[in-house]
């Protein structure tokens, strides 16, 4: 569906993205994750044909975004970071206008608009003037314009930004509902917002691709799952017992209580518990650490910072 090779964009002297490469398959829901200024918007703008790359190639559905931009634009729906709405129009008029702009036949316009409103929960505000809508509704109008012509690829730049927690949940549900009908590329700088919605994550930092894969794959490649423990007792004894299961890391050790991380499969928790208790130590806490993605994300971006 999407092939990106050696994608680079310079703004003057400053490289916003450098040598990006990834592929996205038909029907995938991809999360594009990075801190502010990492180059997410720039990449999405290039995929959305709004910005031209300095070098590199992007092919969407077999069409090059630079030389066959018109063909690409017939196949995509793009929601920029600011919803591109005309304030003085009503929701219905606006969506009908966008549909006609994107080659939806006049006869089919009403049904397309109705469907888009249905999917994004805009039915009740069909006749409202956009300038009177709240931020959350505007964001939905922005999403509705991106999908009103039923594009095969949806590019959503931070669709949840500025929304309240309830609206974020609603927006997440809407995006999840799009799975199957469209290939979706959604960006965010807040991980939990997209880790639950997406099949796969692309983590971008300072214009380069740091890692990609599903949440599981990413955490496995970064040391994999582990067991977290809180133990009271002799430090040397605890280390001796636990080292039998895997590498041990002491995270904190104050007041006789040791917080430790053991690189072992969470399935081994019963054995670990028995061993700790058997060695005469007090077990205060024991749980599985599946590799919290948030920590992972911070570690990835932070690690990069240190190396740089």
């Amino acid at each position: 569906m999407i092939q990106v090779e050696g994608l680079t964009k310079f703004y003057g002297e400053h490289a916003a993205i450098r040598d990006l490469a990834f592929t996205i398959g038909q029907g995938e829901v991809i999360g594009f994750l990075g801190l502010n200024g990492a180059g997410k918007s720039t990449t999405l703008k290039i995929l959305g044909c709004v910005l031209l790359p300095t070098s590199g190639r992007v092919v969407i559905d077999g069409h090059d975004v630079v030389s066959q931009s018109h063909e690409v634009r017939q196949r995509i729906g793009y929601l920029p970071d600011v919803p591109p709405v005309y304030e003085e129009m009503t929701v219905g008029e606006y969506l009908a206008y966008v549909a006609r702009l994107r080659d939806v036949p006049a006869k089919a316009t009403a049904s397309h608009v109705g469907e888009a409103e249905e999917k994004t929960g805009l039915r009740d505000v069909h006749g409202e003037v956009i300038s009177t809508l709240s931020h959350g509704y505007r964001q939905r109008v922005g999403l509705a314009q991106a999908l009103v012509h039923k594009p095969s690829l949806l590019i959503l730049d931070e669709p949840t930004s500025g929304l309240d927690p309830l609206q974020i949940v609603e927006m997440r549900d809407v995006i999840r509902g799009l799975k199957g009908a469209h290939t979706v590329l959604v960006s965010s700088h807040i991980l939990p917002e997209i880790s639950q919605t997406c099949d796969r994550l692309l983590i971008i930092h300072k214009g380069t691709l740091l890692a990609q894969g599903s949440e599981e794959e990413l955490s496995r490649s970064l040391g994999g799952p582990s067991i977290m423990l809180e133990v009271r007792g002799d430090r040397a004894r605890a280390l001796e017992v636990l080292q039998g299961f895997g590498a041990v890391e002491v995270l904190e050790g104050t007041g006789g209580v040791l917080e430790m991380k053991v690189a072992a499969a969470p399935d081994l928790r019963p054995q670990v518990a028995r061993a700790v208790v058997g060695a005469g130590l007090e077990l205060l806490r024991l749980d599985a650490n599946e590799g919290q993605l948030e920590a992972l994300f911070l570690r990835l971006t932070h690690g990069q910072e240190v190396r740089a």
């Binding site: 959305g48 018109h70 634009r73 920029p80 005309y86 003085e88 702009l101």
Partner: protein, 240 residues
Amino acid sequence: MKALLIARRELAGYLRTLSGYVILAILLAVNGLFFNAYALGGASKRSAEVLSGFFYYSSGFTIVAAILVSMRLLAEERQTGTLPLLYASPVRDRDIVLGKFLAGLAFLALYLLLTLYMPLLVLVNGKVSFGHVAAGYLGLLLLGSASLAVGTFGSSLAKNQLLAAIFSAVMLVALILCWLLARITEQPLSDVFSAMSLWNQHFPPFQAGLIHVRDVVYYLVVTYVALFAATRVLEARRWR
């Protein structure tokens, strides 16, 4: 035709917001005052002179109207962040520019239509040649079209509407002042400047009720060149 679709939305935007009506009302009021004070006033005149005076003042207001109407065309899309909508849609840049221009032209035509009561007033107490009125209005429309196209170009360059109006005004004043340059330069440069002059060389015939092909062609060429330049600017913006 995507250009017509864009034009229709743009025109509806003018007619739905207050600013469109405010521009119309102010221009009509001032244009009417000038007509009353200068074209009609003073010593008694023949109808043709009054009409000529009317077209003389109206040409100035047409240029001002063109600047006010065109300033929002593309600059507003940039200002409010709706340009990506057009960029990401299968619409050619020239259709965007053409659509915007056509909407402005329709609005300008509405303004000119509303000034029609002034020549009709001349008819009450005098004799008006309809050919003279038609020629004058054709001149106003052509002058308006050229100014509007320059304004569209100015609007494509600017980040906001105020800057757009300033850019357009500077370019139009420069084009108008070409006749001054023509007076102080030598041949063949003076001929070039003279031919380029937006008003002096090309509008007075219309004002007097005469239609010359070269004047019509001049305004159409200015319109085309300015719209072409605006399209190029829009294309180049994708590199920004």
